[in-house]
Symmetry: C2
Subunit: 425 residues, 2 copies
């Protein structure tokens, strides 16, 4: 008998009818001879509605109370899902994050999982019941207060439970058929990837692919949990994320070189102009930004001009942190001694990801060639062993993604991507 952990997102349980459909899928998994633990997100727009309610009360709700409020969303969805399963003649028991043993630190709104002690889940499953667990939430080890893991935390809950339960697979159900070679809204001929490695998935997630959260993939890699991303609206196979291509059930030779093209429009670029080119200046800049709690993505430093001894330093960061970073740098201007700051939030990042890059020369040449031919100006370049990323103007992102996708022969013969549902988030 296998142990399967399934996670259903908000769009998969957007209303009573959707909940019933999910219940049928869960029951089929049980009838196929598995023990099943289900992680569920809040129904449809519930979380946004609860945030709206909080906003009507105060613009600055205490984190502890905001977490208490938001966790009501999963409490509702897990209870009605358990009811829908009961209605099909199977026993289901719902558990809060706390009851399921999801132990976190006490960082409200973005808690990290410290430990998972799923004693009650295991008991429920051993007694023949289906366990339904609230995603996105846990309980603080120190204060015993309710915490949330931040958005996307439900995926992480599912993978963490799969690890703690020694599950055979963690299935992440969503409203698309899996991971595609590019965002199908931009590239209509994007192909579904049958399989992708943790490494590639991490780079895709970090490069803006929204299908799985970085944290969840990191967790899966650390514990070696195979993750199957698929749609709750169809029975099509999805994408398996696992250790290496050899481990993958659906090996797919074309993707041996390139997994896909990701893009990200959520970043901005700050350029610090006229920085004295002496040791310690770059460190001073990034110290200031780090102290403000801002995560930096790409960094580029120009070659210093011989006459002036000055250089420019550019970096990208989430747009949401832009104002904060500009503030702290302006305050530090006289101490660091730069000339001025430039802020640009009309940028986009395009990334090519593939484990095969390591052993296939010429990937960069094809990549930059395709961009040049499409008339895409490149602003910043950054690479890892299995990824090349460029920053360009936001308007050029779609063109760049399509050009690269075609250049690497990733286009499918027919449209593979279907967008389901749409009542949810």
């Amino acid at each position: 008998m296998g142990v399967v952990v399934q996670k259903y997102g908000g769009s998969s349980v957007s209303d009573a009818a959707a909940v019933k459909r999910v219940a049928q899928r869960i029951v089929r998994t049980v009838q196929a001879g598995n023990q099943v633990c289900v992680v569920v997100s809040a129904m449809g727009d519930t979380t946004d509605e609860l945030l709206d309610l909080a906003e009507q009360i105060t613009p600055t709700p205490p984190g502890r109370e905001l977490d208490m409020l938001l966790t009501a969303g999963e409490r509702i969805s897990m209870a009605v899902l358990a009811m829908a399963i009961a209605n099909l003649g199977h026993e289901a028991r719902s558990f809060t994050g706390s009851q399921a043993g999801v132990i976190t630190d006490s960082s409200h709104g973005r808690a990290r999982i410290i430990d998972v002690t799923p004693g009650r889940i295991r008991t429920a499953m051993d007694e023949g019941a289906i366990a339904i667990v609230a995603g996105f939430q846990g309980v603080s080890q120190d204060t015993k207060d309710i915490t949330t893991l931040g958005r996307g935390g439900s995926d992480t809950t599912a993978v963490a439970l799969a690890a703690a339960l020694d599950a055979d697979v963690c299935e992440i159900y969503t409203d698309v058929d899996g991971v595609f070679t590019a965002d199908p809204r931009i590239v209509h001929s994007a192909r579904r990837l049958g399989a992708v490695t943790y490494e590639e998935m991490l780079e895709l997630a970090a490069s803006g692919a929204k299908i799985l959260h970085l944290r969840c993939v990191e967790y899966a890699r650390r514990y070696g949990i195979p993750v199957h991303v698929r749609s709750s609206f169809s029975d099509r196979p999805g994408t398996t994320v696992a250790g290496s291509i050899d481990d993958l059930p659906e090996a797919d030779m074309e993707q041996a070189i390139i997994a896909g093209v990701a893009h990200d429009r959520s970043e901005a670029k700050i350029t610090v102009v006229g920085v004295p080119d002496v040791p310690g200046k770059a460190a001073a800049i990034f110290n200031e930004v780090a102290r403000a709690g801002v995560n930096i993505d790409m960094i580029v430093q120009n070659v210093s001009q011989a006459q002036t001894g000055l250089t420019d330093v550019s970096f990208t960061l989430p747009k949401t942190d832009g104002a904060m970073a500009m503030n702290v740098l302006q305050v530090a201007q006289s101490t660091i001694g730069f000339a001025r700051l430039q802020y640009d939030d009309q940028i986009g990042k395009v990334s090519l990801v593939g484990a095969g890059m390591r052993s296939h020369p010429g990937v960069s040449a094809t990549f930059f060639g395709a961009l040049a031919e499409a008339g895409v100006n490149i602003d910043v370049i950054s690479t890892s062993e299995i990824r090349i990323s460029v920053v360009t103007h936001a308007d050029k992102v779609d063109t760049a993604v399509r050009a690269v996708h075609t250049a690497f022969e990733l286009d499918a013969d027919q449209v593979e991507a279907v967008v389901y549902g749409g009542t949810g988030r």
Copy 2:
């Protein structure tokens, strides 16, 4: 420093504006030098909306899951109330029933409180925070599952916490100014009672007065907790419920004899016709009904007819249990040997309650005289030491209540009852 427990019902926290108003009242209580623990119900119609959602899923939700679902309502209201208090510059911490130490049996939907261990509440209050507790819910001692106490359970939660915290007073906030001598919707000249004894309040609650639930009053009497029922929409004094008239702050000589007139339209009457008048037949009838879990209110047995040796037995019971009771009796007809059953759900009960009845002769005479003069036919009579109740036709209830209210000179000189709010239940 006093310890005050306050309970706010759903109509007092029907929306964000109402929540903010309640927060101000709580902060004023703190500023007056009190430690405050607040019990809150679900906002406005939340509980009904959650019940509707469950009904869309299945007509027969498992009790465990229905409780899990419904407790989301108080989770939302307590978190936003804590936020609203924080917005006024005071610290508030919300706690689920489980976190507040409300330990119950495992009867889902109608759990009984077994114990209250408010360690976290006391710590929060000792650290200067206002404790906000979810009403209506607890955690099962045996299964550690979430339970609900049934509707009206929030009042009971408040009194139970007041007892456990050794509070000076338990304030129950609602949308009327207190307990009145009759339902102001029927008797416009009803007077607010400044004070009423536990005993009288128990009889009023059992007779249909909806202001406080029987359970809550029983709990308050057992632990000697003074309960102050008042409106969250005004600063008027309400009604204090306490041990005896001498304990009451606002002694009110007129009410020494009669506290008020209550009525109840929620009952039906079953008459078992042609029961052999031999020992054990009444017991057989009520055994059958009791085995079906039906609570009987009033019972009357006619004098047996000499010729036939047969008698009729009538009893009243909640309308909601009517079909069930008729069923079990029909099944037992041949065993018990009665002729037939009559069912009447067009009845109403009118009750006169007052501790002064004990020592004041002539109360019954005035009561029945008033009913006779008003042309009210009496069907069944039942009395306790401090109560007289009659059953009449449902259409005659308003007339009977008004006639009795006037006969005992309970009418106020001017209209005292104000109905506030109206957005809630």
